[in-house]
Amino acid sequence: MRGALASLGAVAALVALWEAAVRFIPISPNLLAPPSAIAEALALHPALLLEHGWATAHEALLGFLLAALAGMALGAALSASALLRQALMPFVLALQIVPKMALAPLFVVWLGVGAPCRMAFAIFIAFFPVLIGTMAGLAGTESGALRLCRVLGASWWQTLWRVRLPYAVPQLLAGLKTAATMALLGVVIGEFVTAQQGLGYVVMFGASLGETALVLAAITLLCAIGLVLYGVVLAAELAFGLWYKAPLPAGEFA
């Protein structure tokens, strides 16, 4: 609790310092807008920011959910089948190394400049952390627990549901948290590249006009959307904990 207060204090101090610095040192508002100007921009353009913010938020949320489903499904399939792993893992690992964000223009070529392009790109970006988290989680079950299941005659399904899944959840949740951030980033990069709508477009547009306060207002909204997406994962974590009615087993990395 004290730690949280201290953290909040440090952040508040940064904001206050920022406001004071901009007031006392004559910095052009085009270079760095003070927090008060950002609040003003938020209040001045609510319709514009809400419209573009809504576009970004629902594309990111949908992209995240689809990426989570696809990542968990393929992660489960890959950890179940050695053949599939041998065939696909080299590609997965290669794509891990490659700067995936750079592939955004390809999606424009394939899907045009609309929402499908941005969502497909967000799914593509957010998919891999979920896949890796699912696989690492399912592989991380304690071997003693698995042996016990075999000795007690548990079926494959019982083992998966009762033992392997709870062990996998911490890693899976870590992957989902990364994916939540990545989905939003994917949508924003897509908006940079397609330049049609969304907060990423507002950021680009505002920057080209030198409207720094508007840019920072849009970024503030992006942070809020990011926090909401992160909150969705936290809620899932909480719900699982309630349903499971026991503390999650701490994985190797917890």
Binding site: A10, L31, I97, P99, V108, A207, I219, L222
Partner: protein, 251 residues
Amino acid sequence: MTAARLPAAPLLAALLALALWEGLVRWARVPAVLLPSPGSVATSLWEAAPLLARHALATGGAATGAFLIALAAGVALASLMVLSPLATRLLYPNLLLFQLLPKVALGPLFVVWLGLGLPSLMAFAVFVSLFPVAIAMLTGLRAADPLQIRLCQAQGGSGWQIFRYIRLPTALPFLFAGAKVAATMAFTGAVVGEFISADAGLGWMVMQAVGRSDTPLIFAALAVLCVLGAALYALVVLAEDAARRRWGTRR
């Protein structure tokens, strides 16, 4: 046996995928604008080689430079935070705040601040790749065994000795994990910066090719980019191996 089989199987799978891709494009007559065949990408790669090499040098240089700066700054920041509790109080919450921020979205601001060109591009790439290094290094430095630290203190070890002989060796594997993320992020930062506004580099070339619907050239430029990104990643892995052999860090 397994050592010889391991590299062969993925290579075979990749070749098979390429052959399948070429066959599919030819058989279904997919227009080159949508999906160029590997052959036409190779042709484009060959024809645009001098141009690609020049822009690859620009992007690769910016990304590698940014990566090195981010590495040094991240290590310095994390070390400062471990050595000074006051620095931790001041910096750590802000570091976490930046972790939550969609950092790549701040790209256009760097253009406003530093104008077009290499300084703004590199500053953005450093900004994007600094945080993984700082967080990983900090986690690593804090992961040191407290018993070892107490023992060192009891023997009269100085703060610097504790840092050098106990914290640093523990942190190395964490640092390399962070460096791997940072290597990819540095390239991401450089290319996204070039998407936003640039007059050189592979990202700029890709955007130009998108404008002309020259899909084979897009693929060629992206292929070069992927190879560059993988090369920096491989260098980090090599450095990790060397460090492990030299200092015997166990993972």
